[in-house]
């Protein structure tokens, strides 16, 4: 594919004797929402960590916009335009919602130690811009009313959204979402899926690990199925739902046999 944003080539990673991710090939096309599914322990989060640079693969390579990013530090990768959210939200609890999102502007701004200490005039302008951009994002997410609230005081659903906004503040080309619907109720999940679609529409490619199948099947353009670290299937959601291997790992042998018959 010519507009391939992320290319995962033969990536493997093991912990001790356990192969968490084994020889996975995959690619993400610009502008799509791709979902990664699989049972618990299938290696989904590990794959995310390998892309985001939190872990280094033992073998294989990851390319982003045609450039190899294997072995890069995660802050470098974030600077290149890959942002992520975490399975258990990792907000800066004692900072305000606004400050959280302002931190997200970090890779796109430049005031350093000396400039900060001396409070140079040009940093005022930058600071104003950081603030207004962050505020704009919060407004877009309908979070402006709680902008001055400490992040640890928010409800779980709100924390998810703030983390979302914070990741977007880095102006990523690719957004990695690790189980964004975990712990959300039905309405929040619905709002979330609309949110993800909106983000895609403004040009941010999304890679989503998710367990909520209705969410996955509703929004994704393509699904990658992992089991025990290996790729089981990859394709459009409809086809995945009918794939006998996928049914087998989710419902057991019998159902797979039924489906095939």
């Amino acid at each position: 594919m010519n507009n391939c944003l992320l290319d995962i080539r033969d990536v493997s990673r093991s912990f001790g004797g356990v192969h968490a991710v084994r020889a996975v090939y995959s690619s993400v096309t610009e502008g799509m929402i791709k979902a990664v599914i699989g049972p618990n322990g299938a290696g989904k989060t590990t794959l995310f960590n390998l892309i985001a640079g939190t872990l280094a693969p033992h073998s294989g390579q990851v390319h982003f916009r045609g450039r190899p990013i294997t072995g890069c530090k995660s802050h470098t990768i974030a600077g290149l335009g890959i942002a992520r959210t975490f399975q258990t939200t990792k907000l800066f609890g004692h900072m305000t919602v606004l400050e959280n999102v302002m931190v997200g502007r970090h890779p796109r701004t430049r005031a350093g130690f000396l400039a900060g200490m001396l409070n140079l005039p040009w940093t005022w302008r930058e600071e104003r811009e950081i603030r207004s951009r962050a505020m704009a994002l919060l407004e877009e997410f309908d979070l402006a009313v709680i902008a001055e609230e400490r992040a640890c005081n928010l409800s779980f659903g709100q924390q998810r959204m703030v983390e979302f906004a914070r990741a977007l503040a880095t102006e990523p080309a690719l957004l990695l979402l690790d189980e964004p619907a975990a712990g959300l109720n039905i309405y929040e999940t619905k709002a979330l899926s609309e949110r993800i679609l909106k983000i895609r529409d403004r040009g941010v490619t999304c890679l989503v690990v998710e367990h909520d199948m209705s969410l996955v099947m509703n929004i994704s353009d393509e699904v990658l199925v992992l089991d025990q670290g290996q790729k089981i299937a990859e394709g459009p959601p409809r086809a995945i739902q009918r794939n006998p291997d996928v049914i087998r790992i989710y419902l057991g042998e019998d159902h797979a046999a039924n489906s095939e018959s």
Partner: protein, 244 residues
Amino acid sequence: MLRILNLEAGYGALRVLKGLSLHVSEGEAVALIGANGAGKTTLLKTVAGILRPRCGTILLDKQPIQIKPAERIVRMGCALVPEGRHVFSTLTVRENLILGAYSRWSRKNRKDIDEVLEEVYSLFGILRERHAQLAGTLSGGQQQMLAIGRALMSRPRLLIMDEPSLGVAPLVVKDIFNTISILKNKGLTILLVEQNARAALAVADRGYVIETGQIVLEGTSRELADNPEVQRAYLGKEYQRIDE
């Protein structure tokens, strides 16, 4: 034997269990199935005393145990095989098993403990073979057997298992489920939590389906296995059996 009423629990701001109720009768095997993140593991941790519930009641033999620490609950005859096995990887297989009987350790129990150890060894022959090996060097399936064996060492009346098939090769999963039905036939009360719905419902008498911290379905294993709702929970709304 075990009765849970309106249980609420969670971590920090996250409310995982939202007023959950279920019960397990003496001699029964009950399966609890549901997708990831539904709250299964949280429920078991709360029952075993690792996690404090926010509110609700847990009765074991009609005694409230929701405020008791894990150590006491084991003594009362309720053993948990945790998710992800949690064997003591730097201890030998035999040491792991012996520690399983820690709560009953005393001079006069000596013989009884040797007996249970013998029972566990005959249930899982591989553990006898590898008794001097470090538990961390066992394969995933063997570790799972060890975790079950360790729980059995406390001679529990209620055995709770959290995802015994997780990360275990398919052939070994079969072995493990065979063992579970052997235990059940011996009269042990079992609460089994599984993602592998099919296998779990095959050994259980009854089952519950848990979704976002609440029980959404309840019934005999057969009823649940044939329920389209169960399938929906796993494969998404649009999933329809091709033969329908």
